[in-house]
């Protein structure tokens, strides 16, 4: 084993009211992918923020290249050779790929030190080539896909000769295809001797990419092991401290009459000629690559971008939906993809968030009835096991999984007939994920029609009664539960098969 490039010894860190990390040791060697796993709130983010110089530990030492160091701030850490790719991008949308890669250290030419644009573009291309990526270095970053933005971040790290690269949930918003490409880029960086800290909720990625894995739970290190010595079940039980029988406890529900029937729905650029139906008690999975138009379909249906043509029937009655308010009134509910920017009102209380969509029904003589509001909010907190110290807690203070449960509660409170869930378990921990899945099963059993958009194929396969594959803003394939394999769905989503599915009869080309 080579000397670790970065080593944390007995690190502890607390915030007001929380012990985020206690006595955690962690190290990364050059040319190694060290996976870091744990439920939300386990301390992963705190740990990487200490490495990146964002937080200062209360106790313990940080050693870089066998020297004890004190990281003063993120810039200092970067200068030492620590780069981080966070879930939120740190790129400048209005600047080109090359400018982003060389941000803060443009190559200069001439006496005046003017930016040497040619050198910058040339070197950017070289760096991207080393990562095995072809990209227009003149393009503005704002117009790139999530996957390409990540590549730019990685190129930036490589060009700075970063010795440690932190990747926080890099695949959270990538489609399966882009994930593969990302992996090969990570492997190239590893060959260059970069030590990589890789955080992911998707355990299969840990096995595919990781050399060693460290499990955190409640701020403690449970164990560090070579990936070859553990299996998925062991990791999960280390993370949760209990064994989960199955991640997708889908239970059978009685499938009834159609509650939603969509015919020839179109809106230019977003949805083209989509027809499908959802029955009561049925979970319909929408699969497809990121950017294929799944969320757009949901948004057109929900009236955020009203449809230009086509018909919608809800419980057999024709429905015209011009805005979200009408969609709600007709019995649709949409849990959006991004709970922080679209689902929650972070500075408002748990109670206020839960009752947001039904305020008018809680109003008596022009005032919100606090008693009934508390009652309703409390019933959802109990039913969905939302962990919050009180109903008056601000939504911003809860963990991702609990925030997601609040968003789901808000929509359940509106008593919908059809619930559209857009990436309902993205970025939430395994325990909360299982709870959301269990809830979906329960709701289906109660007769709700559910549409679930997900980029995680195991989730799609595990939860859906029927799977619709979306590609280029329209539905290109349909599979019944148990008929499809991951490979088939990916092939359909990527347009690799000639004959598009009818009841799962796809022709594979291999």
């Amino acid at each position: 084993m080579p000397e670790p490039i970065i080593e944390l010894r007995n690190i502890s860190k607390s915030f007001p009211g929380v012990q985020a990390l206690s006595d955690v040791s962690f190290d990364v060697c050059p040319g190694e992918v060290h996976a870091l796993v744990g439920e939300n709130g386990a301390g992963k983010s705190t740990l990487i923020k200490i490495i990146a110089g964002v937080y200062e530990p209360n106790a313990g030492t940080v050693r870089f290249d066998s020297q004890t160091v004190q990281m003063l701030n993120p810039r200092h850490a970067q200068e030492m050779g620590i780069a981080a790719i966070y879930q939120e991008s740190s790129l400048y949308n209005e600047l080109s790929v090359a400018e982003n890669i060389f941000m803060g250290r443009h190559p200069s030419a001439g006496k005046l030190g003017a930016v040497d644009w040619n050198a910058m573009f040339r070197e950017s291309e070289e760096v991207l080539n080393r990562l095995g990526v072809q990209m227009d270095v003149h393009a503005k970053v704002g117009g790139l896909s999530t996957a390409n933005r990540q590549r730019v971040e990685m190129a930036k790290a490589l060009s700075k000769n970063a010795k440690v690269l932190i990747m926080d949930e890099p695949t959270a918003s990538l489609s399966q295809h882009d994930v593969e490409a990302l992996f090969s880029t990570v492997r190239i960086l590893r060959e260059h001797g970069v030590g990589i800290i890789y955080i992911s909720h998707r355990l299969e990625e840990v096995f595919e990419l990781g050399d060693r894995v460290t499990v955190l739970r409640d701020g403690h290190r449970v164990d560090t092991k070579p990936v070859s010595e553990v299996n998925q079940g062991q990791l999960v039980s280390m993370m949760v401290g209990r064994t989960l029988d199955t991640l997708f406890p889908k239970r059978d529900a009685e499938i009834g009459a159609p509650v939603l029937r969509v015919k020839n729905l179109s809106r230019r650029g977003l949805v083209s000629d989509v027809s499908f139906e959802v029955r009561s008690g049925e979970i319909v999975g929408l699969a497809g690559l990121v950017g294929a138009g799944r969320s757009e379909l949901a948004q057109v249906l929900f009236g955020i971008y009203p449809a230009e043509s086509g018909t919608v029937e809800i419980s057999g009655k024709p429905a015209v939906i011009r805005n979200p308010r009408q969609a709600m009134a007709l019995g649709l509910a949409y849990v959006p993809e991004d709970r922080q920017s679209q689902g929650l009102i972070l500075p408002m209380k748990v109670r206020e968030n839960i009752t947001m969509a039904i305020l008018e029904t809680l109003t008596r003589f022009g005032f919100v009835s606090y008693g009934r509001e508390d009652q309703i909010a409390q019933s959802y907190v109990d039913r969905l096991q939302i962990r919050t110290p009180s109903l008056s807690q601000l939504a911003m203070n809860l963990s991702g999984g609990n925030q997601q449960k609040i968003v789901v509660s808000k929509w359940l409170a509106s008593a919908p007939k059809v619930l559209i869930l857009d990436e309902p378990t993205r970025g939430i921990d395994i325990g909360a994920k299982a709870e959301i899945h269990r809830l979906m099963s329960q709701l289906a059993q109660q007769g709700l029609g559910i549409v679930m958009i997900s980029s995680e194929l195991p989730e799609i396969l595990g939860m859906s009664d029927r799977i619709l594959v979306v590609r280029k803003n329209t539905i290109v394939g349909e599979y019944l539960r148990g008929q499809a394999t991951q490979e088939q769905i990916i092939a359909t989503a990527m347009g690799l098969d000639n004959q598009v599915a009818e009841g799962g009869k796809t022709v594979e080309r291999n």
């Binding site: 959006p336 809680l362 962990r387």
Partner: protein, 330 residues
């Protein structure tokens, strides 16, 4: 990382003291200390007449601050209220001069202010122009119009009935009664009505509010319109308080009111704040202004002090957010 995973299970309990949130409490304590200090330094400060004067001085900014609080909670801004105040003050003064019945004069003033606010609202909500630009334009436009029509002349010799703000009821000046009633009503409204809740939601996260079925544009329009209404009420007090209405009425009024709101704990980022806090902010500013006179500090310092207060309030807001962010984690 967060505190709540480790915390005890939920209990439905409403804290009695949640009415007083941190910034408001801090402000109230500061106000009490300031009053005590002034009372000791210059005993004449506590003279009932002086207290009445301070409250009358606080009344019209406090009433305008109600509207401004709604605007800022909705994550918008309105810098045209000084000009709207001038329009309404000059309009009501002139209508009173030409013999229009006094109740009708103030009704017309109220409608005019509301319309001017609604115009701002329409441009912000439906034409989707940023509110800072809309109200900057409105500020210049109305101010210019007022100067043109008055030719800079003062308005005076209004009938006795016009000057309601100079009268008292049960020993308390009418403007103070108005302030008290409006602050209490608006405070209750923001706290207990669905509409008030929706204003917070619109400012807290517009996208999420829209998805929850809140008609965001209509709410924004309403907020600006109400701001015009409250400004018109403030203008009526302003116009009737003295025997003349100047053509440059309300110069810098927007600054005074925004300062009161921000000192009162309403976040400039929108989504949080209270009417109660803005009221305290307005009173604090009136106390400071009078206090400085009593302490024989040059009135030229007043603006500097106000400027320091607004910066201090914003810094506190930022610090509070940062602390909340650190405790809540990513």
């Amino acid at each position: 990382m967060n505190a709540t995973d480790a915390a005890t299970p939920t209990k439905a309990r409403r804290n009695v003291f949640s009415l007083v949130q941190s910034q408001e409490a801090t402000l109230a304590v500061f106000l009490v200390i300031l009053l005590a200090g002034l009372a000791i330094a210059t005993p004449a400060f506590m003279d009932p007449q002086n207290i009445r004067d301070i409250l009358v001085n606080a009344s019209f900014p406090a009433i305008a601050a109600i509207g401004m609080t709604l605007v800022i909670i909705s994550a918008e801004i309105d810098i045209s209220i000084g000009a709207i105040l001038a329009v309404v003050a000059v309009l009501t003064g002139n209508l009173a001069l030409i013999g229009v019945p006094i109740p009708l004069v103030f009704l017309i003033g109220l409608i005019a202010g509301t319309l001017l606010g609604a115009l701002n609202g329409a441009l912000v909500a439906y034409a989707r122009i940023p509110s800072i630009i809309v109200t900057l334009g409105a500020l210049s436009f109305w101010r210019g119009l007022v100067i043109y029509f008055t030719q800079g002349a003062w308005i005076y010799n209004m009938p006795e009935a016009f000057h309601f703000a100079q009268r008292s009821w049960l020993g308390v000046p009418i403007p103070v009664w108005m302030m008290a009633v409006l602050v209490v009503l608006a405070g209750l409204f923001m706290r207990f009505s669905p509409l008030g809740r929706q204003f917070y939601a619109v400012g807290g996260n517009r996208q999420a509010a829209l998805l929850a079925g809140i008609p965001v544009r209509r709410r924004l329009f309403l907020v600006f319109m109400l701001n015009g209404t409250f400004t018109a009420i403030a203008a009526s007090i302003y116009a009737s308080r003295f025997s003349v209405v100047q053509s440059n009425a309300g110069l810098g009024f927007e600054f005074q009111v925004i300062t009161a709101v921000v000192i009162g704990g309403t976040s400039i980022m929108g989504g949080t704040g209270s009417i109660w806090g803005s009221f305290l902010g307005a009173v604090l500013m009136a106390v400071i202004a009078t206090g400085m006179t009593f302490l024989k500090v040059s009135p030229y310092w007043l603006q500097t002090v106000q400027g320091s207060l607004i910066l201090l309030a914003v810094i506190l807001d930022v610090l509070r957010r940062r602390r909340a962010g650190a405790a809540a984690g990513p």
